[in-house]
């Protein structure tokens, strides 16, 4: 701090500067709030009229210009749940290794580097990889299974991150008490550490689920199609999905204006699903922190 500047400005002036800057910082925070509220409110107002029981439970009709979005909802649900069935065990096991077994050193640094960079890979690149590896090389075709495996890799870093955080909150004394009673490392992890960390890991699972549900670019080449005449019945079927449906209706075809209500309705269903899961995770986490 330049002392001359100090005397020049005077204490009152400096406090006024501070007040003004506080206002600007507060305003910046409010811009985020405004963005969230405006997007949600807009979709709510525009989308709500489109929502009806039949919109949620019927197949699309008249080459997707009328009818419901049941296959998209089911496709997204199947993709999300399938992905978590693969990614959650893998992610938790990775986190257990990183947090409970690994010692600092080159191997650990390498694994962390891998996870960090995997987290940074653009989702469209995951899509390319899924296309080349699962769809083509393994011959799975554009299918639920290809999509699930692609998305599982995409969401793995999220699961590992939150699971590690959950493991770190388990007090060291728990482990020591267990070792003191003669338990092995694995018994300690299975019977003491994991049960204590499970609620936190579930929060991560919900966040991962919501990330997967909204993901579009990674499923464009691997799982999602414009239209399926029937509901998916096996892992080999290609599916419709909510995010891809929005994209297709909003950009392709000649009936873009006519299908606007359907687009708003689908977008509303998607954000209710995604933000609902996120809110659940946030509230659950707050509940856990209060209990601790």
């Amino acid at each position: 701090m330049n002392p001359i500047a100090l005397t020049h400005a005077g204490l009152a002036g400096r406090h006024r500067t501070q007040k003004i800057m506080w206002g600007i910082f507060g305003l910046a925070s409010c811009v985020n709030l405004a963005a969230l509220v405006i997007i949600c409110a807009f979709l709510l107002v525009k989308g709500l009229p489109a929502i009806s029981w039949s919109f949620l439970t019927e197949m699309p009709r008249d080459s997707m210009t009328a009818g419901g979005i049941l296959p998209c909802i089911l496709g997204t649900v199947y993709l999300s749940i399938g992905t978590m069935l693969v990614a959650f065990p893998l992610g938790v096991a990775s986190a257990v290794y990183l947090n409970e077994y690994a010692r600092p050193g080159r191997v650990l640094r390498l694994i962390r580097l891998g996870i960090n960079n995997l987290a940074g890979v653009p989702s469209v690149v995951f899509g390319l990889f899924g296309l080349a590896f699962f769809v083509t090389f393994f011959g799975m075709g554009v299918s639920l299974l290809s999509g699930i495996l692609t998305l599982a890799i995409l969401v793995l870093p999220v699961i590992i991150g939150t699971a590690e955080e959950a493991l770190r909150t388990v007090p060291q004394t728990y482990r020591e008490a267990s070792f003191g009673l003669g338990a092995t490392k694995w018994q300690t992890i299975r019977l003491v550490v994991l049960p204590a960390a499970l609620p936190g890991m579930l929060t991560g699972a919900i966040l991962g689920l919501s990330r997967v549900a909204g993901e579009t670019a990674a499923i464009m080449f691997t799982a999602a199609v414009f239209f399926t005449p029937s509901l998916p019945t096996s892992l080999g079927d290609s599916v419709m999905a909510l995010p891809y449906h929005i994209y297709v209706l909003a950009t392709a075809g000649t009936e873009i204006e006519k299908t606007r209500p359907l687009q708003y309705g689908t977008a509303l269903v998607l954000i209710v699903l995604v933000l609902g899961m996120n809110l659940t995770a946030i509230l659950y986490r707050a509940h856990l922190q209060k209990r601790r």
Partner: protein, 297 residues
């Protein structure tokens, strides 16, 4: 056969180790398959012509595979969105970490998290149906789907990343540094500008790199609102076609393992290398300037 407790424990440890390697294996496979599918394009077009060629007409006869306009578009969109997202994200982080009361913070933190959770396709859709017509009318443009629109939408996708990582960095500034500054008579604001920000600069730089990496790789937003013209932008209202949108828009029509398909994978390689560079710089900064107490300042 009954295993001894020791052997069993070692086996389990080994199994966990193998699972932990899955991320690296996945990353390795991604690189391998990108390169395997993309590199053959360079038999048709040289690396230099591919990266710096200014014509992208992959379906004409003969086709042109110059992705320079796409690279410029990606960089332009990323730079412009950073201009919006960095001040917004860092100021929000300062507000939450230093100024806001506990109750205000408990309200705003989930807001930022929910903003991060909005699916990109929804943000792209919003940009298409609300922001684009607005821009078109307000500035009397040919199309509201352009570089500026895409940058604004992308900014709101990278703000949460920049904000939460910066906030952690600001929190990590040792308390005694702030107290020393306050004790010398600096106001809280002066302390933030002269002490807290310089001390957390490495963390904030990491945040910025991660935010930019997110912006350059983001697909749906640029696919839906950037306008899609593969030309070098001449103003912030030019329609552009960043790399991810080219891949996403054209893959469906590209013949399997044809030159166009290969070229799209090669764009994937370029995009992957860009994000890899951003992430490596980010983790390098985070690693090198790790703040461990006041002594390392």
């Amino acid at each position: 056969m009954v295993l001894s407790r020791k052997t069993k424990d070692d086996l389990i440890r080994y199994a966990f180790f193998l699972t932990a390697l899955s991320s690296i294996v996945a990353l390795g496979l991604i690189m391998l398959y990108l390169f395997a599918e993309g590199l053959p394009i360079f038999k048709v077009v040289s690396v230099k012509d591919f990266l710096f060629g200014s014509l992208w007409y992959p379906t004409s006869d003969p086709p042109d595979f110059g992705i320079f306009p796409l690279i410029v578009a990606s960089l332009a969109v990323t730079a412009l969105s950073s201009l919006i997202a960095i001040p917004l994200g860092v100021m929000t982080a300062i507000y939450l970490a230093e100024i806001a009361s506990r109750r205000v913070r408990d309200f705003f933190k989930p807001v930022v998290e929910l903003l991060a959770a909005l699916p990109s396709v929804v943000i792209g859709f919003f940009g298409m149906v609300v922001v684009a017509p607005f821009l078109q009318n307000a500035f009397d443009l040919a199309t509201g789907l352009n570089l500026f629109n895409a940058s604004v939408m992308l900014a709101f996708m990278s703000v949460p990343t920049i904000c939460s990582v910066s906030e952690d960095a600001i929190y990590a500034v040792p308390r005694e540094l702030k107290e020393a500054s306050l004790a010398l008579g600096a106001t809280h604001f002066e302390t933030i500008i002269r002490v807290v920000l310089p001390a957390s600069l490495s963390g904030i730089s990491t945040a910025v790199m991660l935010g930019m990496s997110r912006a350059i790789g983001e697909t749906m937003v640029v696919l839906m609102v950037a306008g899609g013209a593969a030309i070098i932008p001449t103003s912030i209202f030019s329609p552009v076609r960043p790399m991810p949108s080219s891949i996403a828009a054209e893959m469906a029509e590209a013949a399997f393992r044809g030159n166009h398909y290969r070229a799209l994978f090669a764009i994937g390689i370029v995009l992957f290398l860009f994000t890899l560079a951003f992430n490596l710089i980010a983790s390098h900064i985070a690693e090198k300037h790790k703040q461990v107490g006041a002594a390392t300042l």
